[in-house]
Amino acid sequence: MRRLFYLLIVAVLGGLFWWGLHRNPGELKSVLIGRPAPDFELPLLPPYRQAWGERFRLADHLGKTPIVLNFWASWCYPACYQEAPVLQAAWEAYRDRVLFFGVNNQDKTEAALKFIDRFGLTFPQGYDPRGKVGIDYGMYGVPETFFIDRKGKVRYRHAGAIDAATLKAKLAEVLR
Protein backbone atom coordinates (compact mmCIF):
# COMPACT_ATOMS: atom_id res chain seq x y z
CA MET A 1 0.00 0.00 0.00
CA ARG A 2 2.74 2.37 1.02
CA ARG A 3 4.83 1.37 -1.98
CA LEU A 4 1.89 2.14 -4.24
CA PHE A 5 1.59 5.60 -2.66
CA TYR A 6 5.24 6.42 -3.36
CA LEU A 7 4.95 5.06 -6.86
CA LEU A 8 2.00 7.37 -7.43
CA ILE A 9 3.96 10.42 -6.24
CA VAL A 10 6.89 9.55 -8.51
CA ALA A 11 4.49 9.03 -11.42
CA VAL A 12 2.79 12.40 -10.86
CA LEU A 13 6.07 14.31 -10.54
CA GLY A 14 7.58 12.44 -13.48
CA GLY A 15 4.51 13.22 -15.56
CA LEU A 16 4.76 16.92 -14.74
CA PHE A 17 8.43 16.89 -15.63
CA TRP A 18 7.74 15.13 -18.93
CA TRP A 19 4.98 17.60 -19.81
CA GLY A 20 7.22 20.56 -18.97
CA LEU A 21 10.04 19.22 -21.12
CA HIS A 22 7.82 18.83 -24.14
CA ARG A 23 6.17 22.21 -23.93
CA ASN A 24 7.33 24.87 -26.35
CA PRO A 25 8.12 27.91 -24.20
CA GLY A 26 7.90 30.12 -27.30
CA GLU A 27 4.34 29.08 -27.92
CA LEU A 28 2.30 31.77 -26.20
CA LYS A 29 -1.30 32.43 -26.97
CA SER A 30 -2.13 36.01 -27.79
CA VAL A 31 -4.75 37.46 -25.48
CA LEU A 32 -6.08 39.36 -28.49
CA ILE A 33 -7.55 36.31 -30.23
CA GLY A 34 -11.27 36.88 -30.74
CA ARG A 35 -11.00 40.49 -29.62
CA PRO A 36 -11.29 43.61 -31.82
CA ALA A 37 -7.94 44.63 -33.31
CA PRO A 38 -6.51 47.62 -31.40
CA ASP A 39 -6.59 50.75 -33.51
CA PHE A 40 -3.45 52.77 -34.26
CA GLU A 41 -2.26 55.56 -36.47
CA LEU A 42 1.23 55.62 -37.93
CA PRO A 43 3.14 57.76 -40.42
CA LEU A 44 3.76 55.86 -43.63
CA LEU A 45 7.27 55.37 -44.92
CA PRO A 46 8.00 57.72 -47.88
CA PRO A 47 7.58 55.20 -50.75
CA TYR A 48 3.93 54.60 -49.80
CA ARG A 49 2.77 58.17 -49.21
CA GLN A 50 1.70 58.82 -52.78
CA ALA A 51 -0.70 55.91 -52.87
CA TRP A 52 -1.82 55.77 -49.22
CA GLY A 53 -1.37 59.29 -47.85
CA GLU A 54 0.87 60.62 -45.11
CA ARG A 55 -0.60 58.58 -42.31
CA PHE A 56 -2.32 55.23 -41.95
CA ARG A 57 -5.17 54.66 -39.53
CA LEU A 58 -6.18 51.06 -39.02
CA ALA A 59 -9.78 51.97 -38.11
CA ASP A 60 -10.27 53.39 -41.62
CA HIS A 61 -9.75 49.92 -43.03
CA LEU A 62 -11.23 47.68 -40.33
CA GLY A 63 -14.48 45.93 -41.12
CA LYS A 64 -14.04 46.09 -44.89
CA THR A 65 -11.64 43.36 -45.89
CA PRO A 66 -9.51 41.03 -43.80
CA ILE A 67 -6.18 42.56 -42.81
CA VAL A 68 -2.78 40.96 -42.40
CA LEU A 69 -0.66 42.96 -39.99
CA ASN A 70 3.04 42.19 -40.09
CA PHE A 71 5.57 43.52 -37.58
CA TRP A 72 9.16 43.57 -38.79
CA ALA A 73 12.52 45.31 -38.56
CA SER A 74 15.59 45.41 -40.76
CA TRP A 75 17.72 44.25 -37.81
CA CYS A 76 15.62 41.11 -37.44
CA TYR A 77 17.81 38.68 -39.29
CA PRO A 78 17.21 36.07 -40.60
CA ALA A 79 13.50 35.65 -39.75
CA CYS A 80 12.27 38.91 -41.29
CA TYR A 81 14.42 38.33 -44.37
CA GLN A 82 12.94 34.86 -44.79
CA GLU A 83 9.34 35.94 -44.65
CA ALA A 84 9.51 39.20 -46.63
CA PRO A 85 9.37 37.54 -50.09
CA VAL A 86 6.58 35.25 -48.86
CA LEU A 87 4.52 38.21 -47.70
CA GLN A 88 5.14 40.15 -50.90
CA ALA A 89 4.07 37.18 -53.07
CA ALA A 90 0.91 36.71 -51.00
CA TRP A 91 0.11 40.44 -51.24
CA GLU A 92 0.40 40.24 -55.03
CA ALA A 93 -1.96 37.27 -55.11
CA TYR A 94 -4.52 38.57 -52.61
CA ARG A 95 -4.34 42.35 -52.89
CA ASP A 96 -7.90 42.66 -54.22
CA ARG A 97 -9.33 40.70 -51.28
CA VAL A 98 -7.01 41.29 -48.33
CA LEU A 99 -5.12 44.33 -47.08
CA PHE A 100 -1.55 43.77 -46.00
CA PHE A 101 0.09 46.31 -43.72
CA GLY A 102 3.63 46.27 -42.45
CA VAL A 103 4.66 47.88 -39.17
CA ASN A 104 8.33 48.73 -39.17
CA ASN A 105 9.23 48.26 -35.52
CA GLN A 106 12.04 50.06 -33.62
CA ASP A 107 14.13 50.62 -36.71
CA LYS A 108 16.07 53.38 -38.46
CA THR A 109 14.40 54.87 -41.52
CA GLU A 110 17.34 54.36 -43.89
CA ALA A 111 17.76 50.72 -42.85
CA ALA A 112 14.03 50.14 -43.23
CA LEU A 113 14.01 51.69 -46.71
CA LYS A 114 16.94 49.53 -47.74
CA PHE A 115 15.06 46.44 -46.59
CA ILE A 116 11.94 47.50 -48.50
CA ASP A 117 14.01 48.11 -51.60
CA ARG A 118 15.75 44.78 -51.32
CA PHE A 119 12.49 42.82 -51.28
CA GLY A 120 10.46 45.23 -53.42
CA LEU A 121 7.69 45.42 -50.86
CA THR A 122 4.65 47.10 -52.38
CA PHE A 123 2.16 46.80 -49.52
CA PRO A 124 1.91 49.87 -47.28
CA GLN A 125 4.45 50.17 -44.48
CA GLY A 126 4.09 52.28 -41.36
CA TYR A 127 6.96 53.61 -39.30
CA ASP A 128 6.98 52.95 -35.55
CA PRO A 129 10.45 53.78 -34.19
CA ARG A 130 9.34 53.42 -30.56
CA GLY A 131 7.48 50.18 -31.04
CA LYS A 132 4.30 51.46 -29.41
CA VAL A 133 1.92 49.56 -31.67
CA GLY A 134 3.85 46.36 -31.00
CA ILE A 135 3.15 46.68 -27.27
CA ASP A 136 -0.52 47.40 -27.98
CA TYR A 137 -0.65 44.09 -29.80
CA GLY A 138 1.18 42.27 -27.01
CA MET A 139 4.02 41.51 -29.37
CA TYR A 140 6.92 39.45 -28.03
CA GLY A 141 9.40 40.12 -30.80
CA VAL A 142 9.64 40.68 -34.51
CA PRO A 143 8.54 39.14 -36.75
CA GLU A 144 4.93 38.59 -35.79
CA THR A 145 1.92 38.46 -38.05
CA PHE A 146 -1.68 39.08 -37.03
CA PHE A 147 -4.70 38.03 -39.07
CA ILE A 148 -7.71 40.29 -38.67
CA ASP A 149 -11.04 39.11 -40.09
CA ARG A 150 -13.66 41.06 -42.01
CA LYS A 151 -15.37 42.08 -38.77
CA GLY A 152 -12.19 43.61 -37.42
CA LYS A 153 -11.44 40.85 -34.92
CA VAL A 154 -8.03 39.27 -34.42
CA ARG A 155 -8.24 35.63 -35.53
CA TYR A 156 -4.68 34.38 -35.35
CA ARG A 157 -1.23 35.50 -34.33
CA HIS A 158 1.86 33.94 -35.85
CA ALA A 159 5.14 34.44 -33.98
CA GLY A 160 8.34 34.09 -36.01
CA ALA A 161 8.87 33.97 -39.75
CA ILE A 162 5.69 32.94 -41.54
CA ASP A 163 5.89 30.34 -44.30
CA ALA A 164 3.82 30.30 -47.48
CA ALA A 165 1.68 27.33 -46.43
CA THR A 166 0.66 28.83 -43.06
CA LEU A 167 0.02 32.20 -44.65
CA LYS A 168 -2.21 30.63 -47.29
CA ALA A 169 -4.14 28.54 -44.76
CA LYS A 170 -4.74 31.49 -42.43
CA LEU A 171 -5.73 33.75 -45.31
CA ALA A 172 -8.32 31.15 -46.33
CA GLU A 173 -9.61 31.19 -42.73
CA VAL A 174 -10.09 34.94 -42.55
CA LEU A 175 -11.58 35.02 -46.03
CA ARG A 176 -14.15 32.36 -45.20
Partner: protein, 147 residues
Protein backbone atom coordinates in the same frame (compact mmCIF):
# COMPACT_ATOMS: atom_id res chain seq x y z
CA UNK B 1 32.01 88.95 -25.67
CA UNK B 2 32.46 86.32 -23.02
CA UNK B 3 28.88 86.32 -21.75
CA UNK B 4 27.72 86.00 -25.35
CA UNK B 5 29.97 82.97 -25.87
CA UNK B 6 28.70 81.45 -22.68
CA UNK B 7 25.12 81.98 -23.82
CA UNK B 8 25.90 80.41 -27.21
CA UNK B 9 27.49 77.41 -25.53
CA UNK B 10 24.50 77.09 -23.24
CA UNK B 11 22.08 77.21 -26.17
CA UNK B 12 24.05 74.68 -28.19
CA UNK B 13 23.92 72.29 -25.24
CA UNK B 14 20.18 72.84 -24.97
CA UNK B 15 19.81 71.96 -28.64
CA UNK B 16 21.73 68.75 -28.11
CA UNK B 17 18.98 67.39 -25.86
CA UNK B 18 16.80 64.47 -26.94
CA UNK B 19 14.05 65.32 -29.40
CA UNK B 20 10.78 66.51 -27.94
CA UNK B 21 8.11 64.05 -26.94
CA UNK B 22 10.58 61.54 -25.59
CA UNK B 23 10.98 61.32 -21.85
CA UNK B 24 14.54 61.72 -20.63
CA UNK B 25 16.52 58.48 -20.38
CA UNK B 26 17.10 58.91 -16.66
CA UNK B 27 13.82 57.49 -15.48
CA UNK B 28 12.64 57.68 -11.90
CA UNK B 29 13.13 54.75 -9.50
CA UNK B 30 9.34 54.42 -9.46
CA UNK B 31 9.48 53.41 -13.14
CA UNK B 32 12.00 50.68 -12.40
CA UNK B 33 9.99 49.50 -9.42
CA UNK B 34 6.97 48.86 -11.65
CA UNK B 35 9.09 47.51 -14.52
CA UNK B 36 10.70 44.99 -12.18
CA UNK B 37 7.28 43.39 -11.67
CA UNK B 38 6.87 42.90 -15.41
CA UNK B 39 8.51 40.35 -17.64
CA UNK B 40 10.64 41.38 -20.58
CA UNK B 41 8.64 39.79 -23.42
CA UNK B 42 11.63 38.74 -25.53
CA UNK B 43 14.01 37.69 -22.76
CA UNK B 44 14.39 34.57 -20.65
CA UNK B 45 14.14 35.25 -16.93
CA UNK B 46 14.71 38.99 -17.10
CA UNK B 47 12.37 41.71 -15.99
CA UNK B 48 11.54 44.82 -17.98
CA UNK B 49 13.64 46.76 -15.47
CA UNK B 50 16.91 44.90 -16.11
CA UNK B 51 16.62 44.16 -19.79
CA UNK B 52 18.00 46.42 -22.45
CA UNK B 53 15.90 44.93 -25.23
CA UNK B 54 14.07 47.47 -27.37
CA UNK B 55 10.66 46.36 -26.15
CA UNK B 56 11.71 46.70 -22.49
CA UNK B 57 13.05 50.19 -23.11
CA UNK B 58 9.73 51.13 -24.66
CA UNK B 59 7.86 49.56 -21.74
CA UNK B 60 9.86 51.70 -19.30
CA UNK B 61 9.19 54.78 -21.42
CA UNK B 62 5.47 54.03 -21.43
CA UNK B 63 5.48 53.43 -17.66
CA UNK B 64 7.18 56.82 -17.18
CA UNK B 65 4.57 58.47 -19.38
CA UNK B 66 1.68 56.82 -17.59
CA UNK B 67 3.09 57.83 -14.20
CA UNK B 68 3.32 61.37 -15.50
CA UNK B 69 -0.34 61.16 -16.47
CA UNK B 70 -1.05 60.26 -12.85
CA UNK B 71 -1.93 56.60 -13.39
CA UNK B 72 -1.59 54.27 -10.42
CA UNK B 73 0.82 51.38 -10.21
CA UNK B 74 -2.07 48.95 -10.47
CA UNK B 75 -3.50 50.68 -13.53
CA UNK B 76 -0.13 50.49 -15.25
CA UNK B 77 0.22 46.80 -14.45
CA UNK B 78 -3.29 46.25 -15.80
CA UNK B 79 -2.36 48.03 -19.00
CA UNK B 80 0.31 45.44 -19.72
CA UNK B 81 -1.82 42.51 -18.53
CA UNK B 82 -4.53 43.51 -21.01
CA UNK B 83 -2.01 43.32 -23.84
CA UNK B 84 0.12 40.36 -22.81
CA UNK B 85 -2.07 38.46 -20.39
CA UNK B 86 -1.08 37.55 -16.85
CA UNK B 87 2.03 35.94 -18.26
CA UNK B 88 3.66 39.38 -18.16
CA UNK B 89 3.47 39.50 -14.35
CA UNK B 90 6.40 38.10 -12.43
CA UNK B 91 4.21 37.22 -9.46
CA UNK B 92 1.16 35.21 -10.54
CA UNK B 93 -2.07 36.69 -9.06
CA UNK B 94 -3.13 34.98 -5.83
CA UNK B 95 -6.35 33.33 -6.87
CA UNK B 96 -7.79 30.10 -8.27
CA UNK B 97 -5.30 27.46 -9.36
CA UNK B 98 -2.46 29.93 -8.78
CA UNK B 99 -2.83 29.36 -5.04
CA UNK B 100 -1.31 25.95 -5.67
CA UNK B 101 1.83 27.71 -6.88
CA UNK B 102 1.99 30.03 -3.92
CA UNK B 103 1.31 27.26 -1.42
CA UNK B 104 3.58 24.69 -3.06
CA UNK B 105 6.63 25.59 -0.90
CA UNK B 106 4.57 25.42 2.29
CA UNK B 107 2.98 22.12 1.21
CA UNK B 108 6.39 20.73 0.35
CA UNK B 109 7.89 21.79 3.68
CA UNK B 110 4.85 20.42 5.50
CA UNK B 111 5.18 17.01 3.83
CA UNK B 112 8.89 16.98 4.56
CA UNK B 113 8.24 17.84 8.22
CA UNK B 114 5.59 15.14 8.48
CA UNK B 115 7.95 12.57 7.04
CA UNK B 116 10.74 13.62 9.39
CA UNK B 117 8.43 13.60 12.40
CA UNK B 118 7.18 10.13 11.59
CA UNK B 119 10.70 8.86 11.05
CA UNK B 120 11.89 10.27 14.39
CA UNK B 121 8.85 8.90 16.19
CA UNK B 122 9.58 5.47 14.76
CA UNK B 123 13.24 5.74 15.78
CA UNK B 124 12.26 6.74 19.32
CA UNK B 125 9.83 3.84 19.56
CA UNK B 126 12.50 1.38 18.49
CA UNK B 127 14.97 2.83 20.91
CA UNK B 128 12.46 2.46 23.71
CA UNK B 129 11.84 -1.14 22.70
CA UNK B 130 15.53 -1.98 22.81
CA UNK B 131 16.26 -0.02 25.96
CA UNK B 132 16.42 -1.96 29.21
CA UNK B 133 13.90 -1.40 31.94
CA UNK B 134 14.92 -0.26 35.46
CA UNK B 135 14.56 -3.71 36.97
CA UNK B 136 16.47 -5.44 34.20
CA UNK B 137 19.26 -2.94 34.60
CA UNK B 138 19.45 -3.47 38.34
CA UNK B 139 19.50 -7.25 37.87
CA UNK B 140 22.30 -6.99 35.35
CA UNK B 141 24.31 -4.67 37.58
CA UNK B 142 23.77 -7.11 40.40
CA UNK B 143 25.14 -9.97 38.30
CA UNK B 144 28.16 -7.94 37.28
CA UNK B 145 28.95 -7.17 40.90
CA UNK B 146 28.62 -10.83 41.84
CA UNK B 147 31.08 -11.96 39.20
Amino acid sequence: MRPLLALLLFLSLALAQTPTGEPPPDLSPEVFKIASQLRCPVCQGESAAESNAGVSQEMRRQIAEMLKEGKSEEAIRDYFVQRYGEWILYAPPRRGVNWLLWLAPAIGLGLLGLGLWRYLAEARRREAELALGEEELRALEHRLEEE
